[in-house]
């Protein structure tokens, strides 16, 4: 425990009041489902860039990046940075999505209109499994981290962070999510810079290098097979996650015309150095003589050791912002997906915009309650479930990319690509390991999708993506 529980509770209260207050204030302008889910489709470049950065900075980025560095060395930090390519490569796609589907709401709309209802069903099953797992893992991480950092009881910490995010997302919709994301991204970036330079005041990079060369030379090795494989796995996992998830598609729809491509490019460039800036701190642990009883707490332990209470408070704020910026986005995007793809498309096609907005708010609340119920028992193995979703996520990359750019891409390719890629990727997960599952799932899906498109004579009419929404 790095902070006194009282200090932790005070910080938690200050930021909770801030986020909920801003969410309620910004949410006043929302009248319809389009306002609530897509912020009126008018987000500018600054907020657009910052929201993509903040959402992609999860508690994993600030906590797992140091662990990656501690276990996989320099390549570990670089491997984690590869996730930025998800944002960078999505940039041109986001512009195309906005052009092809000016009235679209979700990534589910794309699958339904491009590949038909069966492929849409598989996509919904895969993406909801992944999104709900990610949501539960983030809420659980919130409880565990607040407990480890400040001694706040797990259930209370998890309940407060989840409750706060549900409240402001429910009331303010995407506007509240994007507004708070901007503040959170700045707090995280500035916090990481201050903490990083403060650590370097106590130990030089040369001292870190000398210590590593003597005690853990493997962490400086250029040819480190496990780390090199992790690079590809992280890259593909990042691509699959960003390409398919409604968290990112809803932003592509919400950004003002001409903004989406630029915003995702800027976001990728801003995100790229964060795992290195946050991760190198772990490499300093040996030179600083900090004992590491548990590798997943290496970052906070080193910072608290060097900077004392001020450092511990900085870590607490950075972690809280990282968690909130991801949980709110997941709540908003998943509730929009269920509202649009399940409630509206399957159950109530004639629902009015005001009704859809209310339904989205209720679904946000239900998602929060469901997540809370799953998190209370504190299952400790959820990170492996998230890795388990890797091949499912990877198998959706090629149906999406070809579906956006190639007229000959077809339903047989998309359905087979997702089922074969996901299935064989899962076999690889159990037979070989998590570090190759996404790569194999993606490769199998790619071969099938490309072969089907190559052999097909169909020519998809892009105008159909504008219709029926």
């Amino acid at each position: 425990m790095l902070l006194q529980p009282t200090t932790g509770w005070i910080l938690l209260a200050i930021f909770s009041v801030l986020w909920v207050g801003l969410g309620f204030y910004w949410g006043r302008r929302n009248k319809s489902f389009e306002d609530h889910a897509l912020a009126g489709r008018n987000i500018g470049l600054a907020l657009g860039s910052a929201t993509a950065v903040a959402t992609w900075i999860t508690s994993n980025t600030t906590m797992l990046a140091p662990q990656f560095a501690l276990e996989l060395g320099i390549w570990g930090m670089l491997a984690y940075s590869m996730a930025a390519f998800g944002l960078l490569l999505f940039a041109p796609m986001a512009g195309r999505i906005r052009t092809l589907m000016p009235n679209g709401y979700t990534s589910g709309d794309f699958f339904r209109l491009r590949y038909g209802r069966f492929a849409w069903g598989i996509f919904l099953a895969f993406t909801l499994f992944y999104s709900l797992t990610w949501l539960v893992s983030m809420a659980m991480a919130g409880g565990i981290l607040l407990n480890a950092l400040a001694g706040i009881p797990y259930v209370w910490g998890m309940s407060v962070i989840l409750g706060v995010c549900v409240l402001y997302t429910m009331r303010g919709g995407l506007v509240a999510v994007i507004g708070t994301d901007f503040i959170q991204s700045l707090i995280i970036l500035i916090g990481i810079v201050i903490v990083g330079f403060a650590v370097l005041q106590n130990v030089s990079v040369e001292e870190i290098h000398t210590n590593l060369a003597e005690s853990k030379p493997m962490l400086l090795t250029v040819l480190f097979p496990a780390a090199l494989m992790a690079i590809f796995n992280n890259l593909l996992f990042g691509l699959g996650e960003v390409f398919h998830n409604n968290v990112w598609w809803s932003r592509a729809f919400a950004f003002r015309e001409g903004v989406a491509g630029k915003a995702f490019t800027i976001a990728g460039l801003v995100w790229l150095p964060i795992p290195i800036a946050a991760g190198f701190i772990a490499l300093a642990s040996g030179a600083l003589g900090v004992g590491i009883p548990s590798s997943d707490m290496v970052g906070p332990l080193v910072i608290a050791n060097v900077l004392g209470q001020v450092g511990a408070i900085a870590v607490f704020i950075i972690v809280f912002c990282s968690l909130a910026s991801s949980i709110d986005s997941l709540l908003a995007a998943t509730s929009d997906l269920i509202t649009e793809d399940v409630y509206r498309r399957l159950l109530h096609p004639l629902a009015r915009p005001e009704t859809l907005k209310r339904v989205a708010q209720w679904i946000t609340l239900l998602l929060g309650l469901g997540t809370w119920a799953v998190c209370v028992p504190r299952i400790g193995t959820l990170a492996s479930v998230l890795f388990f979703a890797g091949p499912l996520v990877g198998s959706m990359i090629w149906p999406i990319v070809t579906g956006l750019y190639w007229r000959r891409a077809n339903s047989t390719g998309a359905i087979g690509g997702m089922l074969l890629g996901g299935g064989i990727g899962l076999i690889a997960y159990f037979q070989i390991g998590w570090y190759v599952a996404s790569t194999i799932g993606t490769a199998v899906s790619m071969v099938w999708v490309l072969a089907c498109a190559w052999l097909s004579k169909t020519q998809f009419d892009w105008a159909r993506l504008r219709e029926g929404i």
């Binding site: 009126g40 500018g44 470049l45 320099i74 700045l186 970036l189 810079v193 040369e206 030379p217 150095p273």
Partner: protein, 39 residues
Amino acid sequence: MFSSGFLTVLVYGALVWCAISSVALLAMLVRDLLQGRTW
């Protein structure tokens, strides 16, 4: 083996990059606010 110089460039480069990014995001927000194009 990665050299000390490489690690120095990597670490300082990442920290300076983050600092510049935060200033750039703020500057972009101010510009959007002045042009009335925030959201």
